[in-house]
Symmetry: C2
DNA sequence: CTTTTCTACTAACACGTGTTACTAAATCGT
DNA sequence: ACGATTTAGTAACACGTGTTAGTAGAAAAG
């Protein structure tokens, strides 16, 4: 059929009313009087023609696109190996669906950050955006604070006034390290999840330090290192730790995805978990409980995080609440499995 | 600033020209004459005001939203545990970025499929869509064939005329099974990646059967079962296989994600890989090479698949090529690691 | 019977852009 | 010097919707 675009005008013509009436009926506008039979005629015509309002036209006139952006700022490779992304998307999708909102994924290359955020905002393709895993040195974030587009961070940035949703990384890491210390370990390695520019990384190291300090255990600085999100980096980090000759009986690896590689390096060195080295992870990705041995880890409520971020953003968009002091912190939980052993 | 919306009219006013001229200059329309100094004035004004054209208005008038949809049809839980999604998204993102196209993720609940696809198409929020992991019994797919929206499937559906991008699942599975047979195994279990409604699942089983038939090895039907995407289902499948009492010296698990759970079940039963049971996976997710032992698997070029799907869709949108007979099949590769052992 | 109120609608504008048809001035050819 | 062509630009329409202001007719009030 050549006449494949059905507009509200077609519906109006078929129902024998004006286009305005069609709009009023289909949007169920309150406080206006339309006779029941006219109402019925319009609904019938719309159904018969298979009328679906043009989203772009609606967006243009209402200044609402009914879409929010999930903005990824990491490299191609890091996105591809991110074991966490599916949960984020799943969480976002459920909350967004409830409000009849779509999700637009966008990828901002690090070099063009400043302009890219703004183009996205100015083009008004989305009503608001969620920034995932922000970096401390991300200058564009400062700029966004004064911009006019609602923004929620997943993961906090110190000193930023933007709303965020996060876990208490320091407390969570402290929980993990304390567990190892309670088991009698004193020589503990710490491999953080990412380079220090990503805020969660130094926070988790800080949590590790706090636990050590609180227990009066000296920290060996040479046992602290920073991985880079993926298993490969975990493998390299653990390998260089082993080659350094420093002794350790346990390791806190602040990301399960990184732990996948770290475990592999330990195995290659002939070390067994938990007999030779105890291991605690972070995140509780699906793999963790099926790992050999099942990995003791900190459960990060990824989907809930995403859902909260989405709800918060939707509130911001609707203008509910002031845009400052919107900080949501979710609870973490230590999941004890079989990768740790007490020192006798 | 209260006057935060910059339109082309503002640019026109500042440059002292008409709105038409602004449009002509900024879109670099060929075959029209504008003096260099006017051109410069417009560009200068646009930059000074930080003008970014309104995407919705552009979409409305051009009938192009510059966005494509990635439509997920699986359950909440399956999306959250899909170890494959990040690669798909990464691949889509790279190709889309090159063409300055955005990606809209949408989630269609199985009950509302028929209407949901159409609303998406009719609302014209996207220029085309990519359907991931289609089901054989998806009636809506038939309907889409006669619809007016460009659609590409990731994974084929037998009997559908829609363009698709896929690997040769039969041949790939055959490769995996043949490898096990060449190592001397004759009692081989087969755990497919998903329920039979998902096209890839029976195809991979068929490949397994072909290999067995070609080598003249009888197939034990009780050693064939279907998992459900996630590690949990792999664990259950392997467990019931072990409890059935049927003997097998090797297993072909048609999904690495499922293999994560299957391995866990084997371990619990006190069976060692590869000494007691040889294992071949499918997909080559990042975990596979760091697994213990490193998993021999079929590499599925997920990112390339996504990129091809994206390119194909963009061609379709631009009207290049007829919409039938667009079938792209990518190559798979057997990656031999350490999870298999020859039978003496 | 006239005026007011209510009912059931509709005409017209706004959103911000791309594009076609048109025009006034300048240049050119002879 | 005068029509023909080129140059440089503009006015006006279209895209499809939401919404405000307004109106004809009927009912109610005085």
């Amino acid at each position: 059929m050549h006449r494949n675009r059905v507009t509200s005008r077609d519906v109006a013509k078929m129902a024998g009313v004006s286009r305005t009436t069609v709009s009023l009926v289909l949007n169920n506008v309150q406080g206006i009087q339309i006779s029941p039979e006219t109402r019925q005629k319009v609904i019938q015509a719309a159904k018969e023609l298979g009328y679906v309002p043009d989203a772009m036209a609606q967006a243009l006139v209402s200044r609402r696109t009914k879409a929010i952006g999930l903005v990824l700022t990491r490299t191609h490779h890091h996105i591809a190996t991110d074991a966490f992304l599916p949960k984020i998307i799943s969480g976002l999708l459920t909350t967004a669906k409830q409000h009849n909102i779509r999700i637009l994924i966008d990828w901002v290359e690090t070099e063009h950050q400043e302009s890219a955020y703004f183009e996205l905002a100015r083009a008004k393709r989305i009503d608001g955006m969620i920034l995932s895993t922000p970096r401390l040195d991300d200058k564009a974030i400062r700029a966004l604070e004064s911009a006019d587009i609602p923004t929620v961070l997943m993961g906090s940035v110190v000193g930023s006034t933007l709303p965020f949703v996060d876990v208490d990384n320091v407390a969570a890491a402290e929980k993990a390290a304390s567990y190892l210390i309670e088991l009698g370990h004193r020589e503990i390695a710490c491999i953080s999840n990412a380079p220090p520019e990503y805020t969660a990384a130094p926070e988790r190291v800080q949590g590790f330090r706090n636990a050590m300090a609180r227990a009066g255990v000296p920290v060996n600085e040479r046992l602290i290192c920073y991985a880079d999100f993926d298993p490969e980096s975990g493998y390299r980090s653990m390998k260089s730790l082993l080659e350094s000759g420093e002794r350790f009986t346990a390791a806190f690896v602040a990301s399960d995805n990184v732990a996948i590689g770290a475990k592999s390096a330990l195995r290659e060195a002939g070390l067994r978990i938990p007999d030779d080295v105890s291991l605690v992870g972070f995140d509780d990705i699906p793999w963790a409980r099926y790992s050999d041995p099942p990995l003791t880890t900190i459960r990060l409520p990824a989907e809930a995080l995403a859902q909260q971020a989405c709800s918060l953003l939707l509130n911001l968009i609707q203008g509910k609440g002031n845009r400052e002091n919107h900080h949501i912190i979710l609870e973490t939980e230590l999941i004890v499995r079989k990768s740790c052993k007490a020192i006798q």
